[in-house]
């Protein structure tokens, strides 16, 4: 039992429970099932992108281009539906493949040319977003076929279909990270890249796979987003990558790499979602919401770092430690 308490995710869970209790006292609309399901549905896109970002952060890298990738996949998917009226599987496949393509470009630039991930994905973000906006001229795609609208509204056992996709994506990510060689390689690279290479992991191959996965998840998230809002606006995705990174980091991953779990990512997204929903329900003015979000991010990450430092200080160290 004490082992369970020490886990980092337990801290986040405790904060979530505390926040939920406070919010329910302030406005008991919060705890109603339909509100909770709405919050879940509204954050599916963020969560799927966070699941794609998780391996990237674990490996010590970063992917700033997810916002442009999801924009591109949404436009590609939208055009496909409007012009060719294909079926659901085709759309998901095309979107995920185009996302994976961008990820492949990222992976090759980062792995083969040794360009730091932050710079490479920054460049990719500009290129892809510029291409998308140039191609669409900022126009929205609104005349999606009716069957897609019905798909977006399907509920299975009361849960929206998007939430089911989220659960599936989380299960796949968890399986890949825990039970496959590539997944363990991600943690190895994040811990110490040189040691991982000595042990025998193919760093370049694993890095390419990580970024392809991130791109593919962005593609899946674009399908979910389009199914929720039933239109494609290339401009709404700007700035999303920072929200994704915050959610994953609050969920326990570190920008230095080496740590992170799917459960933590779920909890991190849940915390941000409950916070945002709570601020609205507690009738906090819009301008204050940003102040609260910003302060919470700063204090949440500092709290985490202080805890970790305190734990490390408890261990006896004789020689120099980083």
């Amino acid at each position: 039992m004490r082992y369970l308490f020490k886990k980092k995710e337990f801290g986040i869970l405790a904060v979530i429970i505390l926040m939920s209790v406070v919010l329910t006292m302030l406005n008991n609309v919060f705890i109603r099932p339909d509100n909770l399901i709405d919050v879940a549905k509204g954050n599916v896109v963020l969560c799927i992108m966070a699941l794609g970002m998780l391996p990237v952060l674990i490996s010590g890298g970063i992917d700033l281009s997810v916002s442009s990738t999801i924009a591109m996949c949404a436009v590609v998917g939208g055009k496909l539906l409007v012009n060719n009226g294909s079926n659901l599987f085709m759309m998901i496949a095309v979107c995920m493949l185009s996302g994976a393509g961008i990820g492949l470009f990222n992976g090759i630039v980062i792995a083969k040319m040794k360009i730091p991930p932050i710079v490479a994905t920054l460049g990719t973000m500009s290129i892809v977003l510029g291409a998308v906006l140039f191609y669409t001229n900022g126009d929205w795609i609104t005349n999606l076929p009716k069957w897609f609208g019905e798909f977006g509204m399907i509920k299975v056992l009361g849960l929206p279909v998007q939430v089911l996709f989220l659960i599936a994506a989380g299960a796949i990510t968890w399986f890949l990270l825990k039970f496959t060689l590539i997944g363990r390689g991600v943690y190895a690279i994040g811990g110490n890249a040189v040691s991982a290479q000595r042990v025998g992991y193919n760093i370049e191959k694993i890095q390419i796979c990580i970024y392809v996965y991130s791109g593919a998840m962005a593609g899946l998230a674009s399908v979910m987003h389009t199914s929720i809002v039933q239109q494609v606006d290339p401009n709404t995705f700007t700035g999303m990558e920072l929200n994704v990174i915050v959610a994953v980091v609050i969920g326990g991953a570190s920008t230095m790499g080496g740590v992170g779990t799917v459960l933590g990512t779920y909890l991190g997204v849940a915390l941000m979602a409950i916070l945002k929903n709570g601020l609205v329900l507690a009738k906090v003015p819009t301008f204050w919401q940003k102040i609260v979000m910003g302060s919470i991010i700063v204090f949440a990450v500092s709290f985490d770092v202080i805890n970790r430092k305190r734990e490390q200080a408890k261990l006896e160290r004789v020689d120099v430690e980083e």
Binding site: M113, I115, V119, A120, L122, F134, F287, G294, S302, K309
Partner: protein, 339 residues
């Protein structure tokens, strides 16, 4: 001596060549409109705010961090100044009012720098996360002060800073040149500057060498914020109003400029000259292509391609150099980025 200078500043010389090439290229694309005083004035008025933010970002990147909140610091200190400028005190005593509001803007930026620096240096949180949080925080404070709108109604003397010229050189450009010289001396020719580079290269070794890395880092973030506030000052003077969104695109562009200028993203290396030339390259490309009539989205693509392209060229160049030096085999030991 020339050979020594060439070897030490090879990077900056290459960037200078690229700048000249780009100027000629842009001139060829729209010969009648590029090489005019009007166009030169446009560039000279627009480049300073971008350049100041880039130098501020560079100082932080040298220490191995990043300052995502830099544009929000610029707008927040601009908004703080604007508050005073649009009030009655400034309307009645314009000169004193302007001086006081500039001081207030600078003080606000110092506080934001201390906030960022405290969490990065003394608590030890990753710079990206702190500045991401503080970016949202400062945006919220700014939104709270402006209620989402813009603050206008400055004394007419204030627009002198952003729009007038002294002896033919635009005032923003003079401020920019002055700050370039000051930053150069502070970062590359002073005790504190040496400490900054050392901290970025290897923080643990520097700490064990007796240098107070925490205080150095704190000062770096304050330096970055002060530069941002000067950029904010130029911004609000040019727009003659203050709003939260002004200059928000400059954040990613300044990171691009810093990296293009040769600064290592892991820290420990970077020159003011390199960043300044890279800022000029991006500005010339952006303005030149704009004049040529190219769609602004294509301009974004080109800048992204230029960024990745230059870095790729640097990588292949370094690989070729290393292969030349170690003719036996390619070693895969970790090589330090700091030179």
């Amino acid at each position: 001596m020339l050979k020594k200078m060439k070897a030490k500043h090879a990077n900056e010389l290459i960037l200078l060549v690229i700048l000249v090439f780009v100027i000629i290229l842009m001139g060829m694309l729209s010969p009648t409109r590029f090489f005019t005083w009007g166009n030169l004035a446009t560039i000279a008025f627009q480049m300073p705010e971008f350049g100041l933010l880039a130098i501020g970002m560079m100082a932080v990147i040298i220490t191995g961090g990043i300052n995502l909140s830099i544009t929000q610091v610029a707008t927040l200190s601009g908004i703080a100044s604007a508050f005073l400028l649009s009030g009655d005190f400034a309307a009645q005593n314009p000169v004193l009012g302007i001086i006081v509001s500039i001081a207030v803007g600078l003080i606000v930026s110092v506080f934001t720098g201390l906030f960022n620096g405290f969490f990065v240096a003394y608590v030890g949180v990753a710079a990206m996360l702190v500045t991401l949080g503080s970016m949202t925080l400062f945006e919220g404070i700014g939104l709270n002060m402006t209620k989402g709108g813009s603050i206008a109604g400055f004394p007419s003397a204030f627009s002198f800073i952003g729009n007038e010229s002294i002896l033919g050189i635009p005032v923003p450009m003079l401020i920019y040149l002055m700050m370039i010289v000051i930053s150069y001396f502070m970062l590359e020719r002073s005790n504190w500057g040496v400490k900054v580079y050392l901290t970025g290269c290897n923080e643990v070794a520097t700490r064990f060498s007796g240098i107070n890395t925490k205080r150095t880092l704190l000062k770096v973030y304050v330096f970055s914020s002060v530069l941002a506030s000067i950029a904010g000052l130029v911004l609000i003077s040019r727009y003659n109003s203050a709003k939260v969104d002004y200059g928000s695109s400059y954040m990613m562009q300044s990171v691009a400029a810093v990296v293009l200028g040769g600064t290592s993203i892991n820290g420990g290396y970077g020159t003011v000259a390199g960043t300044v030339i890279a800022v000029a390259i991006i500005q010339v490309v952006s303005t030149g292509l704009n004049l040529f009539g190219l769609n602004r989205y294509l301009i974004d693509i080109i800048i992204g391609v230029v960024l990745i392209g230059v870095l790729a060229i640097r990588f292949f160049n370094k690989k070729w150099e290393t292969a030349q030096l170690l003719k036996i085999s390619q070693s895969d030991t970790k090589q330090s980025q700091c030179r």
